[in-house]
């Protein structure tokens, strides 16, 4: 049997297996994984183009004029100088604030004319702003028409069942608010009331209620709705004060954003109550930044994730899929060496994964270039851009070569793909920490060495993460390719031994 026939056999096997590699239902998700970044870049480009067209349609502004807008200027002054904005957006923000600022959590209620009362009663209908059903009163003071003396101080008091024994009604009449939760009257029992006996009927004109925040608690726990009643005999009560929403009001702020566009930059001028508070200039498209983003997407998404798991799906399925379909024996009964079968299947997987991932990476690269200024793109392509695209494609292809061989061997040696995938992923992830010699035993080391643009580095990232993201001493392009091919050859040699020993057993065929 000559080698030419073996080669023909391998090509025939590869051609037949392309169908499984490209269209296996078990690995169809690979396409989604490969095309995901291209779709994102396309969406980004489309959004930029639409936005640019929309902003340009409303007229361009001079860059110098846009830069002349200063903080503190009025809307009218800015619009007079810069003209009508490309986009004008106005809205109003509202915030609830306390109307009474004199003493936090304290409300004062005067009645006119003064009323005669022996019993004064505080009924709480909505105990808090937060919705908490617990009422908290730190002090309830009662004053006569002419006297500065608190008539209720240390007088006998009653009220709803307190939260605990040390938070009884007497705590609201002890003249103190600073003793924390044991210095308040607290109840969550219906009906929430607090009553004091002044001893004899006297004229009363003014009431002071000290709520939760007067005792140091959150303003949200202050009493929201309540009323005050007076009685001469403790039987018939007359309501003299009714409070709703205890002293809170809405604060309204007028906000406005004017957007100006100079053909390249978009400036957003923010105004609050008619005065400019900030200017946010940003380039609608930043070519340099987008190239960095692509470099990051390629290294962190394609190399570490998409190609890794894509090859897992495609190459593991080449043998394992046939075992599951119970069709592997047809290959083993063909007049071909098992090595030839291995080569044919590996070739099919390589073509499929190479087309899918190198193609998807190039498509993503094209999507990154698409919305950019054509002149800038032309310049970039003439000054290394084509080489960048080439090396990205080579790195993707070699990723398939390396990871493909590993998962092909794993498919021959193991039944469960989760275990080899997890082990390899862990190995590739800790790669940055390993000694240089061990780093060279990983596929990722060589692939990163081939990437033409280093990924963007975030200096604020934790040291651990930075170590993971930057391999030490990248190899030369030739060294990386040769190194990867050596690793691949080693793995395929193991796969060759495995397939020679492989036996077909779908079940219990005795």
């Amino acid at each position: 049997m000559n080698n030419r026939l073996r080669l023909r056999q391998a090509v025939t096997i590869a051609r037949l297996e392309l169908r499984r590699a490209f269209f296996s239902k078990r690995a169809f998700w690979v396409y989604g994984l490969a095309l995901f970044p291209a779709v994102i870049f396309f969406g980004h480009g489309l959004e930029v183009k639409i936005r640019r067209d929309r902003l340009s349609a409303r007229g361009l502004s001079s860059p110098a004029l846009i830069d002349s807008a200063q903080k503190g200027e009025t809307v009218e002054a800015v619009m007079q100088r810069l003209g009508k904005a490309a986009n004008d957006y106005q809205w109003e923000s509202r915030r609830r604030v306390r109307a009474v600022k004199s003493e936090s959590g304290t409300t004062i209620h005067a009645i006119e004319p003064a009323a005669e009362a022996r019993f004064v009663r505080l009924n709480i209908t909505r105990p808090t702003y937060s919705g908490d059903p617990t009422a908290r009163i730190y002090e309830f003071e009662v004053y006569g028409p002419d006297s500065p003396t608190n008539l209720a101080l240390h007088r006998p008091a009653t009220g709803s069942v307190p939260c605990s024994d040390d938070q009884g009604p007497d705590k609201a009449f002890n003249g103190s608010v600073s003793g924390g939760s044991s210095d308040r009257w607290c109840t969550h029992e219906w009906d929430r009331f607090l009553q004091v006996d002044l001893g004899t009927p006297v004229m009363v004109r003014r009431f002071i209620v000290k709520h939760a925040s007067a005792g140091g608690e959150s303003e949200e726990s202050d009493t929201r709705d309540f009323n005050i009643q007076v009685s001469k005999d403790g039987k018939i009560f007359a309501t003299v004060v009714t409070v709703t929403g205890a002293g809170y009001v809405d604060e309204r702020t007028a906000r406005r954003t004017l957007t100006y566009f100079d053909g390249r930059r978009e400036a957003r001028l923010q105004f609050t109550d008619g005065k400019m508070v900030s200017r946010d200039n940003r380039e609608l498209l930043n070519f340099e930044e987008d190239r960095q983003v692509f470099a990051g997407v390629f290294q962190f998404f394609y190399l570490r994730l998409a190609i890794f798991f894509g090859c897992l799906g495609i190459f593991m399925n080449l043998f394992r899929g046939e075992m599951l379909d119970r069709t592997l024996h047809y290959w083993f009964l063909a007049p071909a060496r098992r090595d030839v079968l291995l080569a044919g299947k590996y070739g099919a997987g390589l073509v499929a994964s190479g087309v899918i991932f190198a193609g998807a990476a190039l498509l993503c690269f094209a999507m990154m270039l698409w919305p950019q200024d054509p002149a800038a793109v032309q310049l970039y392509l003439q000054n290394g851009g084509v080489a960048h695209a080439f090396w990205y494609a080579v790195a993707a292809l070699l990723g398939c070569v390396g990871y493909g061989s590993v998962f092909l061997a794993a498919g021959l040696l193991l039944r469960n793909p989760i275990i080899p995938a997890a082990v390899l992923l862990a190995w590739e992830s800790i790669n940055g920490f390993l000694p240089e010699i061990l780093q060279k035993m990983s596929v990722l080391y060589y692939l990163q060495s081939l990437c033409p643009v280093p990924p963007p580095s975030d200096k604020s990232a934790p040291a651990l993460l930075q170590l993971l993201l930057s391999p030490a001493a990248p190899a030369s392009h030739l060294g990386a390719i040769l190194g990867l091919l050596v690793v691949t050859a080693l793995v395929l040699w193991i796969a060759r031994i495995a397939i020679r020993r492989m036996q077909v057993s779908y079940g219990s065929d005795v």
């Binding site: 049997m1 037949l16 379909d325 069709t327 047809y330 009964l333 071909a336 030839v340 005795v510």
Partner: protein, 310 residues
Amino acid sequence: MTAPAVVFDEVSKFYGEVLGVNRVTLNIPPGITSLVGPNGSGKTTLMNLMTGLIHPDHGSIRMRGISPRDPENLMRITGYATQYDAAPRWATGFSFITTGLLLFGCGRAEAEEKAWKALERLGLTDAAHRKVAAYSKGMRQRVRLAQAIAHEPELLVLDEPLNGLDPLVRAETIALFRSWAAQGRHVILSSHVLQEVDVISDQVVLIANGMIVAEGEIRNVRDEIHEHPSQFIVRCSDASNLAASLFSEDHITEIKVNDDRLSLLVMTRDRERFARALGRFAGDGHRIDSVIPADENVDALYEYLIGGDK
């Protein structure tokens, strides 16, 4: 010059701790050879060993002088129709066979011609361009047979090949096997249908529990079976006394008395004389509760093959 043979030398195969076949030694000459045995006896294991789908744990195999570990040469002269019912999802009957032939180095035209010829032989031309997955069970059986014979192999291994074939195709297929065997080729098949074995086989290999029970031409096998000891379990009231009486019979080869002294395992070369002897001992006062064959499957096989000669 010696005719090329299929040779098994002390071959054993275990699936983990489960026995496949044990210490099988065979020498199968050209012609039609049937592997006969009950379910789970090791027939498929033997065929998978012959074709290299599985490898022996011990011993060696030569298929017309070629090792099953050399598929490049072995499968060029071998066709194997397995019992595995699956076919690739994409395959039509025609493309399934053509694809296989391309790996033999055939050109496209030659492969298509041979594929068509094989489909014609099995009566599948009408369904040639339909997906194999849509075939009936019998048609899938036929297409596997067509694939096995498409390259005109010298050594044809067929696992239950006549299952699911209609009478006409079955007769034609048997005729095909006969004409191939007449040309000095090997046709090795397994079957449960003993009447077929009797009719079509030149040689029979009887296998039970992974071991070869008898091997050779069908007439010789019957003689061999006559001499092959049968095992019976006899339950009685006094096993020791009955054993002593049985030992005086010359056809008894071995007796094992159980610890409870209420049963014994007897091996005899002549079951008829054994039956007569038991009747005689019962008349002499021995109480015999039951007589049970120790291996009913093999026993049924023997019964058929022996009975068929009468």
